[in-house]
């Protein structure tokens, strides 16, 4: 079910693939050239709103013993955290706003309000996930090292507990994310560089300390006698953000239409083919403007994957053009209402907790293929950065953020 060659899968000729690439490049140039004052205003306004909400939430929670204040404060804080995590932090760190040359809104120094250090996020997300999107064995986001999300992943009785792990991951999502770049699976297999692991753990430790102190020590202390209710309110706000971001993120690559790819696809992949893999490997969902802002415009996951570093407020406009392009060339474009996308994701989680012979391999309607991708039960060992392209075996490195004060 995993694709080994996008061109064959989509039945496109060389010229057509090239043409698609050209059109997508032209669209990109168009957007790049039209970036201007109104886009700058958008992000600045959003940041102002988000910080205002956070401030208002915190102040309201000083009276958290009163139920209405508790509910209002927790909601405002939760929404502030959601906005910062999704529409602001994630996008700024992708470099979407670097074009403004504003040192306060820049991928080189943005630190976001969640347990994971920005530098590790940029490595595991910007590089690993966006470069090797949905390629089995390379993209660590396929299952996050915890869940089995592709039939090609070898089943073991451990996965019977998948529904539980899923629920835990959802509730504790920010902690799962914070450990993501550590690559627990590689640590388990003894393949991780211990020095690097130590450095990363220290970095994570510092970030977590600040976050925990803020939400569970400092603010409760400030609210005096209301400390208990403030703590619960903050925990609720964090939970809100965890659940929401978990759901949105899982809807990005797990609905039925999002395909997986094998290692062979990466070989000599051209820019045009990379575009195609991004389109086929991602799934959108539909909704109104407010939903899209709250979900960091990841309802346009396909557009985000084609242009990860273009400003997110442009994705709706870009989506119209990309959809038209896909229609023209009969390229599958996966989208649907949010509840259906999540429903399919949940179904897959439940289904793959069982061994393959017990469930039906329900593929989305696709053209006939002749690729050799149907090798099940592959051992997809976790790779280091160096092993991600065949024929190279040096180990890659990880980035070191400028603002991280780390002692070796």
């Amino acid at each position: 079910m995993a694709i080994a060659d996008v061109k064959e899968y989509t039945h496109l000729t060389d010229e057509e693939v090239e043409q698609i690439g050209r059109e997508l490049d032209a669209l990109r140039k168009e957007i790049e050239e039209s970036r201007g004052a109104s886009d700058a205003e958008y992000i600045n306004r959003l940041i102002k709103i988000q910080r205002g909400l956070a401030f208002a939430g915190r102040v309201t929670l000083l009276l958290s013993n009163k139920k209405p204040a508790w509910a209002l404060g927790a909601s405002m804080l939760g929404i502030a955290k959601i906005l910062e995590n999704m529409e602001i932090g994630h996008n700024v760190m992708h470099g979407q706003w670097d074009w403004m040359n504003d040192p306060e809104i820049h991928s080189s120094n943005w630190e976001w309000d969640t347990a994971q250090p920005a530098e590790q996020w940029k490595h595991s997300h910007n590089y690993i996930h966006h470069q090797f999107t949905n390629v089995l064995g390379y993209d660590n986001d396929i299952g996050y090292g915890v869940l089995r999300m592709a039939r090609e992943q070898r089943w073991s009785p451990y996965y019977l507990g998948q529904p539980i792990y899923n629920a835990l991951l959802a509730g504790l999502f920010q902690w799962g994310v914070s450990l993501h770049d550590l690559d627990l699976e590689r640590i388990r297999k003894g393949k991780k560089d211990p020095k690097e692991m130590k450095r990363q753990l220290k970095q994570i430790g510092r970030k977590i300390r600040g976050q925990i102190a803020k939400d569970y020590v400092v603010y409760p202390a400030l609210s005096g006698p209301n400390w208990k209710t403030t703590m619960t309110a903050n925990a609720t706000a964090n939970l809100m953000r965890n659940l929401w971001s978990y759901m949105i993120i899982f809807c990005g690559h797990f609905p039925d239409g999002a395909m997986h790819f094998t290692e062979e696809e990466l070989e000599d992949e051209t820019r045009e083919e990379w575009y195609l893999r991004q389109i086929l490997g991602a799934a959108n969902f539909t909704g109104g403007p407010l939903l899209h802002i709250l979900s960091g415009n990841l309802g346009f996951q396909i557009e985000h994957h084609i242009y990860p570093d273009l400003p997110s407020n442009r994705y709706p406009q870009i989506a119209e053009r990309v959809q038209a392009l896909c229609q023209k060339y009969d390229i599958p474009y996966t989208t649907g209402p949010l509840h259906r996308q999540y429903g399919q994701t949940l179904r897959t989680i439940l289904k793959l907790s069982l061994p393959n012979h017990m469930t039906k391999d329900k593929n989305p309607t696709q053209p006939e293929r002749s690729d050799t991708a149907n090798t099940y039960e592959q051992d997809l060992r976790r790779k280091s950065d160096a092993e991600r392209q065949p024929r190279r075996t040096e180990l890659g490195g990880w980035s070191r953020g400028g603002k991280q004060r780390m002692h070796d």
């Binding site: 403004m100 040192p103 820049h106 910007n126 590089y127 966006h130 470069q131 820019r271 045009e272 980035s399």
Partner: protein, 148 residues
């Protein structure tokens, strides 16, 4: 095993040239010595996406610097990935006198250029492109300085 990030004095040396090999040039095939002549396209991609410096491998600061030939400056398309300004200048200090193509440069030229910018676009090669390497296009250019 090649640890990164590495500060400039700790970079491995190119055996042929005796000069430090920046992060973006990789560490050579299994067993082969490090070479500063060609860029390692995996590392170039990694620098682009993780936003790390092509010389030392640690997170980019501001401004972002690009080191290249006058032609790259004219086309606003650099091959060597983004770097710290300090790292780019140090690299230039070492490579200004080296003859032959280094750091991914294919054609000879008179003077290096250091361009500084607030941000950049990462452009992958198209099928029809003869040059199969990705390029970087500064999108908020601050200064382009020729250094002979």
């Amino acid at each position: 095993m090649d640890p990164a990030p590495r500060s400039f004095p700790d970079l491995p040396l190119d055996e042929e040239l005796g000069t430090p090999v920046p992060f973006a040039c990789g560490t050579g095939e299994l067993g082969a010595p490090a070479s500063a002549r060609e860029l390692d396209h995996r590392r170039v991609t990694q620098c682009a996406l993780s936003r790390i410096c092509g010389v030392c491998g640690s997170g980019l600061g501001r401004p972002i610097a690009f080191l290249g030939s006058p032609e790259e400056e004219a086309r606003n398309a650099f091959h060597f990935p983004p770097s710290h300004l300090d790292c780019a200048e140090r690299l230039l200090g070492v490579y200004a006198e080296v003859r032959g193509s280094v750091l991914g440069q294919r054609e000879p030229f008179d003077s290096w250029v250091i361009a500084t910018t607030g941000g950049f676009e990462y452009v992958r090669p198209r099928r029809e492109d003869v040059d199969r390497r990705a390029t970087f296009e500064p999108n908020s250019l601050l200064e382009a300085r020729r250094v002979s």
